[in-house]
Symmetry: C2
Subunit: 212 residues, 2 copies
């Protein structure tokens, strides 16, 4: 598993490994204990030779002619990505989308815990949402330290996203997951991932227009 | 704008064009009327020469030494992508995430209207959410025809996503936006876009682990 000790793994590889974990978890839910590369390829939408190549890194887990033990493979992949530990996250913007994410059981199930929530709306501050108290962003730096928060999530309207990003960066966070439809300016060394619904909708709409 | 008449535009190009639209809309909201390529590049996180190359296709809108009129450029890009019309969408899975999307004003503002919503939970059927009645998926084929629905959205739990996809495909839809953390099997010719939060979280976590 030493490949993943390297600093730069291509984004596409991480995407495939994330897809395998998703698929393996579905198999685990159906009580499948051992899986060979072909059904894993089919379920992941990745071609079989790529799957075998990717999983060669985890080869010690494969049993020739039988396949990979599902649970061990999930563990090996998540350990290699460094995502087998608990990650604590702060969320800014407790609107509908923020609340939906707070209710998304899969975050917690995969070790990504939202442990503090923030909103600038004075009517929301103090409200309890999913067991967490909505706080003013001025409390962010203190809570990041106290709760060991490492990732920030932005679910504000687009016009407030940049401000939210600045709060997160000033509190010392270097990883941001941005759901707001706005591009962010952050200092070098801060990683932003954009969850962009419209990019996907535009792709579908564009392909559909071309098929007619 | 004839470039975009081609059938295959690289995914990366669509992503950049979607990002420009987002950024241009932010400028429009701030009442900026004309923009040159440098600030557009900075705000989009794309390098300036790539922006100029992409926008050369829309060159007739640029005024040398002045820039691009913001609103006309938005119109030109969205028209070229075929996303300047109304798109009607059906959503399956009226849980927290489904409700959050129904409340997401940006969908409607950009012409993507969720016009019918479905859930298999008998306790939800008949409920009114955001002005729409939750219906049984057996009504899907009829409603797709009657309402001119072209895109399906899946916001079910992962174990129900494949079933939802089959309902959408059987109702004649060829474009699916899947928010459930599960890979889908669909017939050739059906396009699936995955909005995968974990792919992004894994990327952030992986980069963070490597920085320590």
């Amino acid at each position: 598993m030493d490949i993943l000790k390297e600093k730069h793994i291509p984004r596409a590889t991480i995407q495939r490994l994330a897809a395998y974990v998703q698929v393996l978890e579905n198999f685990a839910r159906d009580n499948v204990e051992v899986i060979s590369s072909n059904p894993l390829a089919l379920a992941s939408g990745v071609n079989a030779s790529q799957v075998r190549k990717d999983l060669a890194y985890f080869g010690e887990f494969g049993i020739r002619g039988v396949g990979y033990p599902v649970l061990s493979l999930i563990k090996a992949i998540t350990a290699s990505l460094g995502v087998d530990q608990e990650w604590r996250m702060a969320l800014i913007g407790v609107g509908n989308l923020g609340k939906a994410l707070l209710n998304h059981d899969d975050f917690r199930a995969r070790g990504f815990n939202i442990t503090a929530i923030f909103d600038c709306d004075p009517f929301k501050i103090g409200e309890i949402v999913h067991g967490l108290e909505v706080r003013c962003t001025s409390d962010l730096p203190r809570l990041v330290l106290e709760a060991g928060i490492e990732i920030g999530i932005i679910t504000t309207p687009p016009e407030r996203a940049q401000r939210a990003a600045e709060h997160l960066v000033n509190a010392g966070l270097a990883g941001i997951l941005n759901f707001a439809p706005a591009r962010l300016h952050v200092p070098e060394g801060v990683n932003v991932e954009y969850v962009d619904f419209f990019d996907h909708l535009y792709t579908l709409a564009f392909k559909h227009s071309r098929q007619d």
